[in-house]
Structure formats: C-alpha cells, structure tokens
Assembly symmetry: C2
Homo-oligomer: 450 residues x 2
C-alpha cells in the first residue's frame, strides 16, 4: 500500500463538503490513516476544516488531533462543545491528552477536566504538572508493569487485558514490591520464554532510566546514543512513573531541529502553517530590530570618522565586502559550534580546543582572502587601498570567526540556547566590529601617510 | 542505571593506556555500552584511540564502529589488517557492514570482501549497489519472513533460531509463495495468538511498503507521518528485499537536519570532529567565495554612481542598515520555506499561497521599519535623506522577502536542495540588489532636487 496522494482526492472531498454529503465523507474518512486525514485538513480552508473534523467519530478524531499543527488544531476545536472535547480526549493516550488540554483556554480546560472520568482526569492533571519540555512533559502514563515474581503466563494474560489501551508495546517493565523499577523484558524474550518462568529470571536489569525532570533534548540524545525504542521514566525515589517511546523522540528531534534551524538564521520559530500575516510579522520584527539597532550604531560610528572627501567613495565601496566576509565567517563558525552542541559532539570542556581550531581555520581563510583582495584592489585603485583592505580583511575574518565560535559556547555556559547567539547577535556585532576595524585601519594608514 | 560520566573515568583510561594495561582496559570496556566506548574514543588522541580500539574483541568492535564519526573511524581503522577488518565486519548487521565497507579505500574494499564468507560478502555487495541516500542504502537485509500459511508455533521456532542475528525485532513480515510482501504480524499479536493459527489469519495486510529507491528524507517523513517503527522495503515487483527500522530513521533525521542547518546558514556540512584546519578551511572557502565575488560586484556598482562628494558620507553611513535589513528579512523568509519543505509542511503546489503570505508579511514589516527609519533619519540629517531611506527600506525589505521565499521554491522545483539557496546565494543577491535599489533611489531623489 503506497502513500496516499492527497492531491488526487482533495477536489472530491471539497465537493462532498460543499454538498454536505456526510455519509459519503464519513465512509471515506474511516478508511484513511489519521495522518492522511491530517494532510487533508491542512489543505482545507477553515470552515471546511471544521465541518470535516466535526464529522469524525470521537475515536478517529482522537487519533487525528495530536497530529495537527497548532493553527489547524485551533481552527477545528474552535466552538467545539465541552462534551465533544471530553469524548475525544477520553480516547487519547494520556500524553497526547495532556498536550491538547494544555493548549485550551483556562476556563475550557477546567470544564473539560471536570467532565472527564476521574481516572482520565487524574492522569491528565498529573502530566500537566510537568514542564512540557521535560521527560515528564513527553512521557505517557500507560505503562505495562509487572511484579518481578510474576510468571510469563500471567504477563501474557495482563497484555491481553490491556491490549487495547497500549498502542506501542515493546517491553514489559518489571518493578519490585515498592514499585521501584528493577528491569525490563522484551517482547521477543516473552515470546521465546517458558510460560511458568518468573519475570525476574529473564529480565534485563541493565536498563537505563530517565529522570522525570530531564530536558527533552537530553532525552532525545540519550535515546540516540543508546539506540533505545522505549525507556522507563523514574522519579527522585526511583519509582516508575511513566515511559517514553521512540515516536515521542522523533517529534522532539523534529521540534528541536526546526527550532535550532530557525533561531540560528535569525528567524523566529514560527508556525509554518500560521495564516495570519500579523502574527508572523509580530514574531519576526523583534529579530529584525536587533539588526536595525545594530546597524544604526554602525552608521553612527561611520559618521564619526573624519574621512577625506576625495576618498570617501572608494572607502564606502568596500564596506559591504568587509561586512559580508566577516558576517559569513562568523556565521560558519557559530553554526558549526551550535550544531556540535545540539548533537552532543562538542562539550563545554572542549571550549579551548574548539576556539583554537576555529582560530587556525580563520588564519588560513583570512590569509587566502586577504591576498586575493590585495591583488584585486591593487589593480582597481593602487597599493594604498590594497594594503588597507588586505589588512582589514585579515583582522575582520579572524575576529569574526573567533567571536562566532565563542558566543554560542558562552551562551551554553549561561544555560541560554546557543542557537540564539548565531544570528542576529553574532552577525550584527560582527558588522559593527567590522566597520570599526576597517575604518580605524583606513584612518591610521592614511594618517601615517603611507 | 544512569548515563556514564565520561569525564570521571577518562583520566584513568588514559593512564592505563600509557602503562599498556591491556587486561584491565579490556575488563573495563567489556562492561561498557558501545555508545560509551564511542564517547571515550572521541575524546582520546589518535594514537590512544587506535591502541584502545585494537584491544576490543571483534564483536564489541563491530558494535562500536558504526557509532563513530568518520574522522574517528578513519583513525581507528588506519593500518588495521584485512583479517581484523573482516572479522569485525562479519559480526555486523548487513546495513552497517555495507556502510563501513563503502568508506574503505578501493583496494582494501576488494580484499576485505574476498576474505568474508560468501553469504556475508554477497549481502554487503547487494547493499553497496544502492544509492547511500535511498531506502536501499539504509535498509538491512536481516528480515524475519514467513510464508502466510505458517503457524504461530512455527514462527516462534524460527524466531528462536534467528534470535541472535536480528537485534531489533518488532514484526514478522509475511510473504506469499512468490516472496511478494502481503502483510505483517506484530510481536504483541504473536504473544496473544493461538499457537496453531496461521499467520494469514491474524496478519495486518494494510501495511505501507517503501520502494527501494525512495529518497531517505522521504522515507523519514513517511515514518514520521505514519508513526512507524519498522517498514518493509520492496522492489519494482513488490518482492520484499529488506527492512528499515526507526533507529535508521533517527540517524537520517539527524543527518538531514544537521545538513540543512549547515547549508541554510552558508556553512558547509563539515565534520564537527574533523581535526585538520586545512580540510575545514577547504570546505568553508567556496561558500565564502560566493559572498566575496558578490560583494565585489556591489563595490563596483557603488563606484558607478556619481554621488555628490558632500553627501557621500551620509549615503555611505546607511549602506550597512539597508543591506542588513534586506539580508535578515530575506533570510527569515527563506529559512521558513526551507524548513517547511524539509518537514513536508510546504508543498510545491503551495507556491502561490506561500509567496502571497510572505508578501503580506513583508508589507507589514517594511512599513514598520520604513516609518521608524524615517523619523530617526529625519532628526539625524533632515527630510531629504529621511525620504530616501524610508523609501529604500520599504522596497528593499519587500524585494528581499519575496526573493528569499521564491529561490528555495525554485530550487526545489529544479530538484536542487532548497537549503543551498538560503545562504550565501539569497543573502549575496539581496546585498547587491539592496545597494542598487538604495543608490538608484538616492540618485533619483537628489537629481529631481527634492
């Protein structure tokens, strides 16, 4: 079965919605994978989105809803009755339910929690306590736990009972009589084992646990490092409180990667599906303001230098190249450091080594571009400006590269996301420093009258 | 069991290596997870790396080697004998083995393939045929397949036989008598089923297959979309040829995300662990050259405008802000489009909608910054330059934003990685266009003598 081509059925769906063919639409939806329904909802206009989503039975809606991006989810949930909301949330895994409830306005949140059955509402409330970017925020409470003295046959019986509630089952977690986590048994071992054997005889007690307050990015690196599919989450006392599975990690990786990619380039981590130009504009303006203020400072500095009028034009002509080369070199260094920190390839104790490496690289690059620029400017305008520009380029590239590597490491040490450092902070600082260095050298060389 | 703190044992390991305490080192290594051994190897100097890796028994070495980044892997494999290489590769899963063999120099590759047992060497050769960025390049051949007429008991017997060869087992793939893929049975269903039942009675035939030539980024999106843990890979005839598991996908996500993040910011996708400043410098220079040449063009353009000497300084002072604001706005638009394309949130048929949305955003942002700049320059230098700069800022931001969104979409249509468009191409073009727009407006306004 291949991937559904949404393009091919979208026009039909739209027509069916226009003609309010509820029965036919429902039959089509029931045959589709929730991810495909998500794809269709993404492509519909707001009113049609709501119409189609409202048709879905609660169970199907509960599988579609967690897949939706926030702007789309807001559309389909707008004006949804409390009863409808409760019945959808009731069908969800606890972690998805908590995510949805957390997004609701506070008054709706309370009403929905009140209308849920006690055990579901308790689970959701328990999860809402955790920071959404921590292990507690991404874990699910639906865990298959057994006492270490239970037999294989008892375990299989328990799986049969819970079969419908637990979607992704890879391991049985084993606890002692104080509910402390002691080990895990894989389904493969369960299949192969003798039915009368006790779990403790075949459990793997060498299993790594995740603390409930671990940051989600660290959890993801932990999963990658140890090639995990699922991992037990424990509290301060070592008591098993939940589990995280690889599908949560894939979401975290995408979220964090996309956030880093946006931040590193001076773009806000905006919702790509966001429709309102006002909201997007509001998110982007603060980043642009940093550059705006920085470059005003650059303009001010530029005006402070008393440049010989006959030489202003040639000096101005090379401002862009000095700025751009400093900016690009600094960006390369900071992006490399940010990537390395995000993937755990660079650690803080490497700071010295990393800076020294970046310095060696920038020595090579600055030498290359200084010599190149020297000869170009030599034939363009003569030896005086060739010397000024080669010297400026050399210092600006070295300065920008080292600064580009240093700032993210410094941010990391202060526990600020290093990706925030790369742009526009590093590039604006490098623009200001670049102009300062270039004009200082120019003034100096011209004044000593070389 | 918590994560190993490498810092705490690294000094001891280094001392043991210096004193050549092979026995003690081996005992420590055997107790560690391969990922922790990788962490230690990363932190050692080249000679110590080789010494420690050479100590590892072939089976442990086979688990550590696939985790290593290329520069480290090259270090530890340098001068490794063919026999040692063969015995390590023999212990690996076919996909990891093929990756390692592909990296070897050609003469070593041939000798190693010759020395492997026929079936292992055939597997590796089969996998080497596929493009390393395709489904075939990341799949493994170790698949548990059963005929649809087999019983549960027979299947469990088969699992018992193959238990050691297949690390990650989540599903049994079911084929018909022509080896065509017909469905899958999860381990959970296997645990719960009656031993005499036939697989076809409980298999899920609604399983999505992956074509062997599908691009790895598409495979990753496919896994994310359908929340898969493992998926069957089929050839043109629908014959089952391998399987891809979620741990391969996590690697792909990391690889592609990191590559995009580097490219989007005009940094090469360099190895973060690379030690040679020459190699890093060689990778970075081409990206810098694009900016270098572009800014030389900007310098040339600037010189072509015959600006009134008395006004050159004020004109030059605002070049950086015009360039930087155009550059940052263009970058924001292109990063958003590149992210959306990478995650499948933006598709090519959205081109019109996306450009219109970016245009609305840029109208808002350019209006905001034009008005702001107008008043600042008004008090700085008077109404003439206030009008020039507000007008330039307005056109430059709109132009840069639309160009920033357009170029990645255009690249995608040409099947070039859109991330390559974002920088330095978009930013350099925007610098040139920004200067051109700014100076044209300046010349025009000054010439009509406002």
């Amino acid at each position: 079965m291949a991937e559904l081509q949404i393009d091919s059925i979208l026009p039909d769906i739209e027509e069916l919605i226009e003609h309010q063919q509820k029965g036919t639409l429902l039959n089509i939806m029931i045959d589709l994978h929730p991810a495909d329904i998500e794809g269709i909802l993404n492509r519909l206009k707001k009113e049609k989105r709501k119409y189609l989503f409202d048709l879905l039975p609660a169970e199907l809606a509960s599988e579609v809803l967690p897949e939706l991006d926030s702007p789309v989810a807001e559309d389909v949930l707008e004006e949804a009755g409390d009863e409808r909301l409760s019945s959808i949330i009731h069908e969800m895994d606890s972690d998805d339910a908590a995510d949805i409830v957390a997004e609701l306005p506070e008054d709706v949140q309370e009403r929905v929690l009140d209308s849920l059955e006690d055990d579901v509402s308790d689970d959701v409330k328990e999860l809402l306590v955790h920071d959404e970017d921590s292990a507690g925020g991404i874990m699910a409470l639906e865990v298959l736990t057994m006492q270490e003295t239970a037999t294989i046959d008892e375990t299989i019986e328990k799986i049969r009972e819970l079969s419908d509630d637990i979607d992704h089952l890879y391991n049985v977690w084993v606890v002692d009589n104080k509910d402390n986590f002691v080990g895990s048994v894989s389904l493969k071992d369960l299949v192969l084992a003798n039915g009368k054997a006790q779990l403790r005889s075949l459990m793997d007690s060498d299993v790594r646990t995740i603390h409930v307050r671990m940051d989600q990015e660290d959890v993801a690196n932990f999963f990658k490092k140890y090639d995990l599919i699922s991992a037990p989450v424990v509290d301060d006392q070592g008591k098993l409180v939940g589990r995280i599975t690889i599908d949560d990690i894939v979401d975290v990786l995408e979220e964090e990667g996309s956030e880093d990619m946006a931040r590193i380039s001076g773009a806000p981590d905006e919702e790509i599906q966001e429709d309102s130009a006002f909201i997007i504009s509001k998110a982007r303006i603060p980043w642009l303001l940093v550059a705006f203020v920085g470059e005003l400072i650059a303009a001010y500095i530029l005006q402070q230098f008393n440049l010989e009028p006959s030489q202003q034009l040639i000096i101005a002509a090379f401002i862009p190249i000095v700025m751009a080369m400093g900016g690009a070199s600094g960006q390369q260094a900071s992006v490399t450091v940010v990537r390395g920190l995000a993937m755990g390839d660079i650690e803080l104790h490497d700071t010295g080594t990393r800076l020294f490496k970046e310095f060696r690289v920038s020595l090579l690059n600055s030498t290359f571009f200084s010599i190149l620029l020297f000869w170009i400017v030599y034939f363009w305008s003569g030896p005086l400006f060739a010397i000024i520009l080669a010297g400026s380029m050399f210092i600006v590239i070295n300065n920008a590269t080292v600064l580009g590597a240093l700032v993210p490491l410094f941010f990391k040490r202060l526990n600020i996301d290093p990706a925030l450092a790369a742009a526009p902070l590093v590039s604006t600082s490098n623009d200001i420093l670049g102009i300062l260095i270039y004009l200082s050298i120019t003034t100096f060389v011209l004044s000593v009258g070389l």
